[in-house]
């Protein structure tokens, strides 16, 4: 039984991590595409239209990858988490089915029209299809986050005698206090990723002396979007999320912040330190006193419960992973803010395009928002442990009773191999598209 749980979790973690490389780019990128297309309608400069179409090509590759790695996610609810599906399908089935029916549908239908239909439809309708792709991809995020929010903070349900969760109030699924902050945080984070991708491609063009004019345009767009989004990611969206965790999942909050012992005169904020699970303390800690209490409750000496206040079985089962994920996310977010501020400052002083060191830095930073996004999700998912539905249904109670660990290991290895091939192909195609540049016309 232990084994089955382990492999089911590992397979889900692996496939969702790989899957989330793609939607986090498409959600943010669709916003930037709509921005370019809108700019083109207003200013009628060809380069904006080229930019929109160029990024739609990159979007399309990512979208395809997102679709084919996304279907296994939907399937796995049934294949590996059958008991969870049986007990909660009447509730989360609602939001997941709506995701397929409205957002996935909007996105895939109008993506085809955007790509094929520019001449057929004229510019205004073309803008509209781009906008609908954006709407579809953000709606998709909304429904998925609504599903996740219900698992983090269940609302509008009733539990029957046989343990089945049934829906009692549909609209509460969407007014869940967990949902809006999580959704905004997630969407802004995806804008951070795509800003870095856009700026990174721009930096690449400038540094390589290829398509320099487009390079400047992309870089400028990327750093401006990047600065705004990396500010919003911390405040207000990150802040609101952290307050939600403190309110609804205090055990997870203590673990992610690394508070082993409750401090009565206000909690310190840990910047660096390594959780020592044997001694139940942080080694090599650097911390600032009272800041955490202030950030969370705006009271310097407010007491925040540490992990010593909770029973062992209420605490997340992997505290170091949760703690590190959270600190990596926050640390990276801070770096993004710093780099993007510097870049915008240099842009203002008209020195950005010749600051080669900063351009190299931006280029090399492109993978890091992906890491920050994914560790951010790890914080949410590890923090919710040991529960699937917070406080109500244990993760170990959700797995498929009939699927043995050997079978899951077999399919996990299959996914690892297949996704390796997919990853190589993906890099090859995106690399080719970037290499060909925005001026390249097919057929």
């Amino acid at each position: 039984m232990e084994d089955m749980l382990f492999y089911d979790r590992l397979q889900f973690a692996f496939t969702i991590t790989f899957h989330y490389i793609f939607p986090q780019l498409t959600m943010g990128l669709s916003l930037i595409i709509v921005f370019y297309k809108g700019l083109y309608l207003r200013k009628k400069l060809e380069k904006y239209n080229d930019a929109a179409k160029f990024f739609m090509k990159i979007f399309a590759i990512n979208f395809t990858m997102g679709v084919i790695t996304g279907i296994p996610m939907e399937f796995q609810f049934g294949t590996n988490w059958a008991k969870f599906s049986e007990l909660t399908g009447g509730i989360i089935g609602q939001t997941l089915a709506m995701e397929g029916m409205f957002s996935f549908f909007l996105e895939s239908s109008f993506l085809a029209l955007f790509i094929f239909g520019e001449k057929l439809m004229g510019q205004k309708l073309h803008f509209l299809t781009g906008f609908l792709v954006f709407l579809g991809s953000w709606a998709s995020g909304w429904f998925i986050l609504a599903t996740n929010a219900w698992m983090q903070h269940p609302v509008g349900y009733e539990i029957l005698e046989n343990g089945v969760f049934v829906l009692t109030n549909f609209s509460e699924l969407f007014t869940n206090p967990w949902l809006l902050p999580a959704f905004l945080h997630n969407q802004v984070a995806s804008v951070v990723t795509s800003s870095f991708v856009v700026a990174g491609i721009g930096a690449f063009y400038i540094l390589s002396g290829k398509n320099v004019e487009y390079g400047k345009l992309f870089l400028k767009t990327g750093v401006i979007f990047g600065l705004v989004s990396s500010m919003l990611i911390a405040f207000p969206t990150g802040d609101l999320n952290a307050k939600n965790v403190a309110k609804y999942q205090p055990a997870a909050f203590a673990a992610m912040e690394g508070i082993f012992e409750t401090e009565h005169a206000g909690a310190e904020i840990v910047l660096i330190g390594q959780p020592n699970m044997v001694e139940k303390r942080l080694d090599n800690k650097i911390a600032v006193p009272n800041i955490l209490s202030f950030l969370t409750y705006q009271e310097w000496d407010r007491q925040i419960p540490g992990m010593d206040q909770f029973k062992e079985e209420e605490l997340p089962d992997n505290i170091p992973a949760l703690y590190y994920s959270y600190h990596i996310m926050v640390g990276l977010g801070t770096i993004f803010m710093g780099v993007m501020s510097l870049a915008v400052f240099l842009l203002w002083r008209k020195k950005l395009y010749v600051s080669r060191k900063l351009l190299w830095a931006i280029l090399f930073l492109v993978p890091f928002p992906y890491i920050a996004n994914i560790t951010g999700w790890y914080v949410a998912e590890l923090g919710r442990q040991p529960y699937l539905v917070y406080g109500l249904l244990k993760t170990s109670e959700g797995i498929s009773p009939t699927v043995s660990s050997g079978n899951t290991l077999f399919t996990l290895l299959g996914f690892v191999g297949l996704y390796l091939i997919l990853g190589v192909l993906f890099l090859l195609l995106v690399g080719k598209t970037i290499y060909q540049g925005p001026k390249h016309q097919t057929h």
């Binding site: 399309a60 509730i91 089935g93 089915a97 995701e99 029916m101 009773p401 399919t411």
Partner: protein
């Protein structure tokens, strides 16, 4: 309310198999019959332009099934674990075959993805057919051995095969001689369907030849259908009771038969769309007749200990189903409106259409 959602999910599934079915069929025809590069290109294009919006229907079917019949979703998806995972991998290979073929122009690259598309389409058609075979044949619910259930009564786990390959084994596997017959029916049906789609949507040089192929395949299909009916009657002696009790259900097999008959005249049709409509009738009639014959059961139990799964004992609550009806109808209408708009906008032959990358 259970009936309403059963019908909706069934419609979505049938539409999925009609739409993505021609993609599978195109892949099968492509694998065996396309020889010239020009043909290969337009034939892949006739599927490549549509596969992802067709796949929306699969995702929607999965989502709706999950929402309305969570017990069924949980039971079937975990019980058919191995074949479903393989289906997922095949779906991935088929998609990348279609999407990546045109990305580079050297021949070996194209050949690799052509094979990837063709072989995975063939296997998908086979697997989906066998899935239908498994569902009408039933499974050992509860994993009963010597009269004792190993799991809760609505769970099971199907091995890929049982050593006897018999549908009447105590614990039949995914592959037995009955499900192979149904799998073959699915391959042949979808090959016909795909051939009709190619004729409708392209000016490939093999189109005239394809009409002959359709007639030949159709003969094979008639034989397979008769065999399957005899076999089914032998496995499940009461399998036609539903049609006796409710004669109006006979409309489904009649649709199937009319498609079957119509396809013999494919060379005489003055519009290419008639052939395609006939094979749509095959897909529609085949799936609906199978479902109608076991209704209201949706997964028969092969043992006497545990009850079969029906639309009533696997459904969610009345409230959940009725609140979903509100948004479900809106979504359903949107899906159909878009389908019509898309088929209009992208009507005609695909040879001249821009592939887009």
């Amino acid at each position: 309310m259970e009936l309403f959602w059963f019908i909706i999910v069934a419609i979505v599934l049938v539409v999925f198999f009609i739409l993505d079915g021609y993609d599978f069929g195109v892949g099968i025809i492509h694998l065996f019959m396309a020889k010239e590069e020009k043909d290969k290109e337009v034939i892949t294009k006739s599927a490549g332009l549509f596969w992802d919006s067709n796949e929306v229907w699969l995702v929607v079917a999965g989502g709706l099934l999950f929402m309305a019949f969570p017990v069924y979703y949980a039971s079937v998806f975990s019980g058919f674990y191995l074949p479903l995972m393989m289906v997922l991998w095949l779906i991935i290979f088929r998609a990348i075959g279609l999407e990546f073929r045109s990305q580079f122009s050297f021949q070996m690259w194209k050949d690799i993805w052509d094979k990837s598309f063709g072989v995975s389409s063939l296997l998908l058609a086979l697997f989906f057919g066998m899935a239908l075979g498994n569902i009408v044949r039933g499974v050992n619910l509860g994993g009963v051995e010597n009269g004792i259930s190993k799991y809760e009564g609505h769970y099971f786990f199907l091995p890929l095969w049982d050593a006897s390959f018999s549908p009447l084994a105590e614990s039949p596997g995914v592959i037995d001689w009955f499900t192979i017959i149904i799998g073959l029916i699915s391959v042949v049906t979808l090959a016909i369907h795909g051939a009709n789609w190619i004729i409708l949507k392209t000016n490939a040089s093999i189109n005239t030849q394809l009409k002959n192929t359709i007639v030949k395949l159709n003969t094979v299909l008639v034989i397979l259908t008769v065999i399957s009916l005899v076999a089914w009657q032998w496995i499940r002696p009461n399998c036609f009771d539903n049609f006796m009790d409710k004669p109006y259900l006979l409309i489904f097999p009649l649709v199937y038969i009319s498609g079957l008959v119509g396809l013999f005249f494919v060379k005489k049709f003055d519009k290419e769309v008639y052939g395609f409509l006939c094979s749509c009738a095959l897909v529609f009639g085949g799936i609906t007749s199978s479902l109608a014959s076991i209704f209201p059961v949706i997964l028969p139990s092969t043992n006497a200990v545990n009850d079969s799964l029906t639309i009533y004992n696997t459904a969610t609550t009345e409230y959940g189903m009725s609140v979903a009806m509100g948004w479900g109808i809106v979504g359903f209408v949107l899906l159909f409106v878009y389908l019509i708009v898309q088929k209009r906008l992208m009507g005609g032959k695909v040879d001249k259409m821009d592939y887009g990358h």
